[in-house]
Chain length 615, copies 2
């Protein structure tokens, strides 16, 4: 039985300098832009099932997922900010999508139009179950946020169709999704409908995965990719994250959901073991994961390079945050929130511009002249990609940011991230507890919570792992982080998290970071962006003994953002044309200004570094 | 007209602590081991043209090149050290190879057996012209070193066959090798036979390459690989090395040869321009080139990472040395020797064990726990590869090492690398000048040259770019580096190159090297290998102010090798399980011992670093 429930989408309304702005921009720009691209690229029209050879925009096997993710974002947008015109469009999209459903419930634009006889024949790469999962998530979003049943009913029929095909029961066949996603989606469908068949099907997909004989290895063209797809071993026997990073965290989210619903401690243990292996050996300081561009994948422990060969896909960081918040809500353990918070403020939001309509696929931790568009893409965020999972992920992720801030339990509420917001939290006993959080978190650790609901309940304040000193007061009197009392509306809780600038070093096994530090304050990782410096970033050595000053961020960054300023030395060579030299480097004194990493590259193309030389 | 000729294989006999040992091991082990593998893997039997479906070892499109390279090595081995049994085997191999020649001269085991109708249809990837080139090189080696004509005649017929197909003349078609090699091989064939048709065909391949319409882009499956194959622009218009690194340097060697034979200054300019772009922006400190595992290719300037994602293929460094020595012999400019020497002592020999029978494909500059066999290969040298170009390259390269040491000109001789040896150098006027070089170069800069031939001629001593102070004496009297005099047999020339330990830093654009230094002494790049240290290499910070001591290399390394010892600080963290920490690192005093980079990983598996933290 999970400790906490995640709030419903509209129950927590951020009013802070980070999430609130991102959500507003998401509604105003990210979702409309993603809708435009979905239409413009033919992804929506694919559901008309009438593409003809010779026409542009031939539907692709993963397109349905993009449309579904944007539709999910539209539902969230409508829930947060009703808009009749958008709702009309929403309904039209739903109608069109439902019109593509086949008599037996099957709903996939690619295979229906082009390869009907190949249905379910290429599970390892065909993305059918992945697309189905995203459609289910969209359907549940529409139902839960807007009360609309049409798409939900449609996807239930599709889920029933899938359930009739896959499983261990007689008359069914074994099969696993090549790109995990449907596991967590089926749990959402189960929770929305109460139909246990969906829980069982999800549980089947999770528990059969990686058993022998291996489904993928028996497929034509499917051999030897089991590790890439986390299917080399039964999930309970896996002990380190491997393969495609997005798939890995989607699988983990599904595993956590199944463990939760089936009260399965060994499955939950596997989730925790993989989480620990990830955060202890395979995670960037930003919460970015999957360090290899080739295969978009996890590699070996401590292989976390910063430069032109790294990856850290936006979708993977988003998936990590979604997995981690599930694990916290199930277990109540703060270590999961520490990772979720890290990913939220850094490795996810770095993937989207403050304007809300351009995206990184790859979230570099260092960019210099020696990084041009030669890997996944780009020094600069792009409006769309041919494989456009990251933009469409943001369309549905950004509106959900509030749901990370609070959790609601049996007899209490938990403040996960003390960002300013208003929260209405439904306890399991049916009561709603409301409160308002004030402050400038994550740039200020002083937070006020004004309780709006009287009664006996517990308020749990998370003390982040990054925080070494803190104080809690209730109506001015010292208190603990877990406060169980009889509240009166108007009670004021003050949480003060000390938030000095931290000088972070890596485990020495990340050899490229040896001799370098990163600056972090609270949950926010900082970076040197070239535009803010007077000498090349690559030639700067931070002077750690000179102290740091907090200053308003440079113009062009969101209001309320704090930058870190200090002293540095420049080290350079007289002969800039030499590749190697035995010259002693020249030095000069300089200063530095570091900005939150997630905000880099919003003021034009610029070099950047998170890990900096220091002394 | 080139300034110098390269000596014939047997004219320079090394007696130094590096090349002499490598050559002896090459004859005793490298070539026999490569022969065994060539037989064992079916590469030799491919020439029987009788492979049947169901048998093991189906011939592969590039196998002929492996057999040819080993055969070339066998010819060199026989020339340096006659061996009747080996000669018998050599003749049998030649007979077998010649037996596979078709009536029209065509000689390719793969296409003859499997796809006769696909001859010359897939120039971009089929390796036909590449295999032909290696067979030509083997044939010329057998002829020049052993006086054997059978294979030479066979390959002349094949060259005639190729010449009948490709060219701009009526009745021929345009075509370029996807993997360059035949260009330089045809020049060898031209020089061995005097048949100008081969020079013209080579010149055609060089000069037509990259012109419009693009041959590769017109091939089925050939599109969009022109940059990888250096065919995106005519060679004269290319200004930076691109694409597959081995191909690039093979092309450059062929371009240099054609420029030399055709007295073509603009083609020579292109060679020099590409050489400069390479050494100024795309070369590791070891002379390794082609930094990307993916595509085995050059990437962008300054993209020279050291760790698990780097490449620097052995064959590419060998190709660079072969290109650079050509450029020196043509122009007499020492900058080419500086690069050739660097590659010889470091980036090439690192690819082969001191035992002579295991090989690196990838020549890492740093290995830590975070490098396992997840890229091209291996932390440890391997005896063979399915694509086994590197082992077979060493089989023919190692015996040639002596030919780099001296060059012979019109009226004089040039000492390129002052390694101990005996040299008999043929001047263009027909005289032979002999001399003996004594010393322990590259570990000692003091060299004695005992002249054995009386007469008027010039002795040119190269002063390497790494050398800041030097002296020259003739019979005890001070002299210049270029000595033109009337020599008496028994005259003694003393060259003293000051050879302190140099602390090398990179251009700051190689951002991963900032804050790090490499140690170099003379032409030899040093590395810290874990086996010689008492604390983890990754945690060591060299103390540059404490000075360096030269010490005999640790046991297990070749006699005469010098190591560099000094003081260092260890910087480490209390919590080795943490991935990131704000703890202040602990420190302790320690010492270091650095060995020549090329000798690492000869005493078992061990971590290693060339670029080290220092202060």
């Amino acid at each position: 039985m999970r400790k906490f429930n995640r709030p419903a989408l509209c129950d927590v309304r951020p009013a802070d300098p980070v999430f609130a702005k991102r959500i507003a921009t998401g509604i105003a720009r990210t979702i409309p832009a993603a809708m435009e691209k979905t239409v413009e690229t033919g992804r929506l029209d694919a559901f008309r099932l009438n593409w003809q050879e010779g026409q542009p925009n031939k539907p692709h096997i993963f397109w349905d997922s993009d449309t579904a993710k944007v539709l999910e974002g539209m539902a969230y947008s409508l829930a947060l900010q009703p808009d009749p015109e958008l709702e009309k469009t929403y309904d039209e999209w739903v109608d069109l999508i439902c019109s593509a459903q086949q008599e037996d419930g099957y709903l996939n634009t690619y295979y229906t139009q082009f390869e009907q006889d190949q249905r379910w024949q290429h599970l390892s790469w065909a993305h059918e179950l992945y697309c189905a999962g995203h459609l289910m998530e969209a359907a549940v979003a529409g139902y839960e946020c807007l009360g609309k049943r049409k798409l939900l009913d449609c996807l239930c029929r599709y889920a029933d169709c899938i359930d009739s095909v896959f499983g261990l029961e007689e008359g069914k066949r074994r099969g696993w999704p090549g790109h995990e996603e449907i596991e967590l989606a089926l749990i959402k469908l189960y929770r929305a409908t109460g139909n246990e068949r969906y829980l069982k099907l999800s549980s089947y997909f999770v528990n059969d995965r990686g058993t022998k004989p291996n489904v993928f290895e028996m497929e034509k063209d499917g051999g030897s990719i089991s590790t890439a797809l986390q299917a080399h071993l039964p999930v309970r026997e896996q002990d380190t994250p491997v393969g495609h990073a997005v798939r890995m965290v989607y699988l983990l989210a599904g595993m956590a959901d199944v463990a939760d619903e089936e009260n399965d401690p060994s499955l939950l243990d596997a989730c925790d073991r993989l989480f620990e292996a990830l955060r202890q050996k395979k995670m960037y300081i930003t919460g970015g994961i999957g360090s290899s561009f080739a295969g978009e994948k996890f590699t070996i422990p401590y292989d976390l390079t910063n430069g032109s060969l790294m990856y850290a896909e936006s979708c993977a960081a988003i998936g990590l945050a979604q997995f981690a918040i599930r694990m916290f809500n199930i277990t109540g353990e703060n270590k999961y929130l520490d990772v979720a918070e890290l990913a939220l403020y850094n490795g996810t939001l770095s993937g989207i511009s403050t304007q809300g309509d351009t995206y990184f696929y790859t979230n570099y931790l260092e960019v210099d002249e020696n990084l041009q568009a030669y890997n996944a893409g780009a020094r600069e965020r792009q409006p769309w990609f041919s494989c456009s999972c990251c933009p469409t992920s943001f369309a549905r992720f950004i509106p959900q940011l509030g749901t990370f801030l609070w959790s609601a339990g049996d007899n209490g509420i938990a403040m996960n991230i003390p960002a300013a917001c208003h929260a209405d939290l439904k306890l399991k006993d049916g009561r709603t507890v409301s409160c308002k959080v004030e402050g400038n978190y994550p740039y200020d650790g002083a937070v006020r919570i004004i309780m709006e609901t009287s009664g006996d309940y517990r308020l749990t304040l998370r003390i982040p792992a990054w925080c070494k000193e803190y104080s809690v007061k209730v109506n001015g009197a010292a208190a603990e982080a877990v406060i169980e009392r009889s509240w009166n509306a108007g009670d004021v809780v003050e949480l003060d998290l000390e938030m000095p600038v931290s000088v972070i070093r890596s485990n020495t096994r990340i050899t490229g970071n040896n001799g370098r530090v990163a600056l972090k304050r609270g949950p926010v990782v900082y970076a040197l962006e070239q535009i803010d410096q007077t000498v090349p970033v690559r030639e700067m050595i931070l002077d750690l003994n000179a102290g740091f000053r907090l200053v308003p961020a440079p113009e062009g960054l969101p209001e309320g953002t704090l930058a870190i300023a200090g002293s540095a030395t420049r080290e350079y060579f007289m002969d800039d044309n030499a590749l190697y030299t035995d010259d002693t480097p020249g030095t000069e004194n300089t200063t530095f200004t570091a900005i939150p990493y997630a905000l880099w590259q919003n003021r034009g193309d610029s070099n950047m570094a998170v890990w900096m030389r220091a002394r």
